[in-house]
Amino acid sequence: MIETFRISFRLQITYRTNALLRSLKSVPGLKKRLPTALYASRGLKRFALVVSILREIISIFFGKALYLLLTIVLPLFYFKLSGPANFLHILALLTLLGGLLNARIIQPGRDKYYAIMLMRLDAKKYALSNYLYFLLRTFIGMAVMTAVVGRLYRVSVLGAVAAAALVVAIKCIMPALLLGTPLKEQKKRFEKLYSTMAVMLIIALLAVAYVLPVLGWAIPVRAFYVACAVAVVAAVPSVWALCHFKGYKDAYKEEFAGGIAFESTKSATAKVLQTSYQKKLSFSASQTSKKSGYAYLNDLFVQRHTKILTRSALRITLFFSALMLAGIGACLFYPPIREKLNSYLLTGLPSLLFVMYFINRGQTITQAMFVNCDHSMLTYRFYRQPKAILQLFAARLRSVIRINLMPAAVIALGLPVMLLLSGGTAHPFNYFLLFASVLLMAVFFSVHHMVLYYLLQPYNENSEVKNPMFTVANTVTYLISYFAVRQEIETSVFGLFLLVFCIVYILLALFAAYRLAPKTFCLRQ
């Protein structure tokens, strides 16, 4: 068993080491400096190995420390509670809850697939030795960190060791109860956990864990020790059952039957993404189009993607219609609000930038365009011809703008009306600015996302983002919109600035797209 564990542990470390080396390659600027025979480089490999082992050691303690701090220390600190009994009380009940929620010795994972299916390691030895290692890690991590963190609450070393023993005992008892239960049945039971009864049980446990100490009652420390001793004794037959169970191989096979573990990470991620976008397709015989060529293609695309395009925009429109009506109603029937609203409308325009950023579905739309259409069509050479790219770009842009203008129109009409009803403005130009800048922002974000997609087409054939510029550009867009929220600038100033900026940007972006997209719109290698 030790030999099996040694092999599986080495395999896991190698797997992690290579993953680390691989991720180094994706750091911009580093790729060219790394040798081509990356995985054969001894120096790099040693470096990655040290990092992997360090990570393993840190993870033993760090996770436990975080767990104890967040789930026990923080609530105790918040309710100003002290004493070892409160600490151990919460710990015991959370351990019980943890055992109920996650009690599986067989866990999915690519490294397990490699070890058991490809390298034919003995499934039982593999499962048991790895679980033993896991229990050992848990025991050491828990005992040490409970002793360290528990000092704040005067938990003794014995208390820490007993707590760790309780955790390990529960982690032996619960999986033993599940042994031999088919995965489907386990999943069914897990789903049942979310039934009303189960949720109530979980809430009850949480309540006992947190509310009782607040009310001044906790399991006495001596009783805690007794509970730990009982759990350890009860774990003995469970360990026997775990060691004598014969169905590990079948259990693993069942675990791998989902299929994804059989494929490379790349194609697996692509598949997940593809399936999630294909699920967004809605298809019915009534969807037809009288258009032709690229307009026809785009028309059908829009119709088949109503879930993420029109329907979602309609929902947003309805929401904002209600909000605008509520605002107008408030102005009419609740005069005290007028002043506040008026001052917001005359200085708060920057925050609308963030709202408009959020209701614009540009990024989701372009990703759907890639996954459900361009991903395959870009392999056809006719589709990559400059004329074709620009025809489709124009058709798509028109559709996206039309969709995004729906909610924008409601806001653009609602705001000037609210401004009027909330007391008006000395500069009538402000009405126009509010109206026009909202509409222009909708057009701006539509153009922005579409042009970014066409100029930086970031995806490769596996639908992975391969162009760091794309991520940077999107983050910058988000940050600018986000920081605009807190700015208070007079609408007459900001609105005018926005108007000019949007018009210039849109013109420049379209110019750039028409000049450059035929060269940049292709599958990344």
Binding site: T36, Q274, L281, G293, Y296, L297, F301, S376, F382, C522
Partner: protein, 235 residues
């Protein structure tokens, strides 16, 4: 018509995949492109189809005694993993394809007659392509390339996903259209190459080389091809 590939070079990082490959492909022939795993067959096709930019080299077409660069309209490429727009039905995909290729297909036939040709069942024609099997997607991909009728057809392992009956029909179809085309057919299946192709070209050590059949019978010819692949591999 002739297609000249001249001095084609392509490196990936430090790995030289194509090292100045040159060849002249002629109309009326089906060329079997054979190479060992990783020899660069797909890279060669990708360069021809402009999916990958070659580091050096040129592609030219000689027609009626005049030479000109190879254009997008000259090439049809059927990938080994078929790719079709998942959100369209077979009928819609063909309508779209015919719309935008009016120049190449000035007098299109009714859409159903094309689907009949590929034996796509009536009830499958209005299904989304995402629900098609691998083989059916491959049929669609092959079909649009037949419809566009480009003079040069690149086929990357196109018959392996078909059942034996369809594969045989496709072979017949390729034989029928070859007189007006240059067909380059990449495969790992030697029997298929010997059965279908007029000439065998091997891609090894980054260069293209024709293996002449001369007066050899199939078994001897096969040995000669394998010997050539091994010999070049040992260089």
């Amino acid at each position: 018509m002739k297609l000249y590939v001249q001095g084609l070079k392509k490196n990936f990082d430090e790995k030289q995949v194509l090292k100045g490959a040159s060849f002249c492909f002629e109309q009326g022939h089906i060329y079997g492109l054979i190479g060992r795993n990783g020899a660069g067959k797909t890279t060669f096709f990708n360069c021809l189809n402009d999916d990958v930019k070659p580091d050096e080299g040129s592609f030219e077409v000689e027609e009626n005694g005049q030479t000109r660069p190879l254009t997008a309209e000259d090439i049809g490429y059927v990938l080994s993993t078929p790719v079709v727009p998942e959100f369209l039905t077979a009928r819609e995909f063909l309508k779209f394809f015919l719309d935008i290729n009016r120049k190449q297909v000035p007098q299109p036939q009714p859409i159903d007659s094309y689907l009949d040709l590929m034996q796509i069942d009536e009830q499958d024609r209005d299904l989304l392509l995402k629900d098609y099997s691998h083989g059916m997607k491959n049929k669609m991909q092959l079909l649009v390339n037949f419809i566009a009728n480009p003079p040069v057809l690149l086929l990357d392992e196109p018959l392996t996903s078909f059942d034996v009956v369809v594969a045989d029909e496709m072979k017949q179809l390729l034989r029928q259209i070859k007189k007006d085309h240059i067909i380059i057919f990449s495969t790992h299946i030697m029997e298929l190459a010997l059965d279908l192709c007029d000439d065998i070209v091997i891609l090894n050590q980054g260069v293209l080389q024709e293996i002449a059949k001369e007066s050899l019978d199939n078994a001897e010819y096969k040995d000669k091809i394998i010997a050539a692949l091994k010999e070049a591999g040992n260089d």
